[in-house]
């Protein structure tokens, strides 16, 4: 197997669009946005704030860990646990999985971040940013120590 020192396989780069967004993702985002606008008052009355669709950030404590997430302009989520990046992946059904809890998925980025915090051992911390190899399929960093 040919694989670069940074974890990037050589000569097997599949096609990727900048930022890794698919047309389907964009369409889903637009639909979610319209739905949010239409149902906002209703949702505000019945749902916890962090679960409202379309909400663009969260910042909370969970079992002693600070979980923060911001949806970036290109629609990705930048999530951190105690200030260190937690890479998330999206499933085709719209759910999310993290590099810490990699074999099941969760309805929202916040749920995935909570599950990652639960899966880490007491005192265990994610690697610091900038110390991880690149993942091949879209050139993004996945929060992995090289």
């Amino acid at each position: 197997m040919a694989i670069g020192i940074d974890g990037t396989p050589k000569g097997t780069q599949p096609s990727a669009v900048p930022g890794g967004r698919t047309r389907r993702d964009v369409a889903r985002g637009l639909r979610t946005g319209a739905l949010t606008a239409a149902l906002a008052p209703l949702l505000a009355a019945f749902r916890a704030p962090e679960r409202a669709p379309g909400r663009a950030s969260f910042d909370r404590m969970h079992r002693g860990r600070r979980i923060q997430g911001v949806r970036t302009a290109d629609g990705h989520w930048h999530v951190t646990l105690d200030g260190r990046p937690l890479h998330l992946m999206r499933r085709a059904d719209g759910t999310w999985l993290s590099m810490v809890d990699h074999y099941c998925s969760y309805p929202t980025p916040l749920d995935a971040a909570r599950a990652a915090a639960d899966a880490l051992a007491p005192g265990e911390r994610l690697r610091e940013a900038g110390t991880e190899p690149r993942h091949q399929h879209r050139g993004g960093r996945h929060g992995v120590r090289a």
Binding site: M1, A2, I3, G7, T8, P9, T12, P14, S15, A16, V17, G20, R21, T22, R24, D25, M89, R90, R91, A92, D93, G94, T95, L97, M99, V100, D101, H102, Y103, C104, S105, Y106, P107, A119, L120, A121, P122, G123, E124, R125, L126, R127, E128, P133, H135, Q136, H137, R138, H142, G143, V144, R145, A146
Partner: protein
Amino acid sequence: MAYVRKDAATLTATEKRRFVNALLEVKRRGEYDEFVRTHIAYYASDGERGLRTAHMAPSFLPWHRRFLLDLEEALRRVDSSVTLPYWDWTRDRTARSTPWTADLLGGNGRRSDRQVTTGPFAYQEGNWRLRVGVSDREFLTRDLGRRADPIDLPTKSDLEWALKDPAYDAAPWDSTVTKGFRNRLEGWGTGRGSASWRNHNRVHRWIGGVMLTAASVNDPAFWLHHAFVDLQWYRWQRRHGGARYLPATAPGSGDEQHGRVVSRHEKLPPWDVSPGELEDVGETYRYA
């Protein structure tokens, strides 16, 4: 002549020792960490653009079959008597049964920090320092059965639910497909919570610690688990009269999965081999 992969529960003391020593030598040579990196690099998710090979795709089984052969070849360069054992998690179901013994993979992680402190892969033995991982910990971690909120390993009937499906896989060839042997075995379910982690995925969850992360290859349990998963492909083929890998041909240009899955005769990255060429490996190895 084909060599034999054995049930880990049947290995002799000598076979266990030679398997463990070969793993430690592959690790010492720096080859092992390349396997960890490769699995991370080829784990692409289906909600994102790009080719999927290792997971959430029909090639889940041939990809891991070839991956196991690479490791097995590395082990056999060290000791030609060694083959990969498999762990039958439908039968050896507790934190104290095979393979969690001091003469094979070592036991559960301790409660305080989930560090594995027994067996040949315990950090204090000095031979198993994790260099590629998602966290700052350099020792192997496990949380067998998830002590804080216990779950069970998949059962024989869970496996049967996958084996009885006569189709290898089905469109859209991803983690959302509810029929087909491949995803029923890989284990991506719908809904949330415990019921949505099946078979292969559920075993990663049951072991926990490093095995739950993107760097799961760091736990040698990865190989024993995936050898048993690989055995299921052979069993499924036998039961269904030599049923073939699907898709037989690549999804067309108008298909959402065009360019995103590997069909039967396309090359399966990172190797120069197709899923069709990996369907029958009876000349290389067989299972006892």
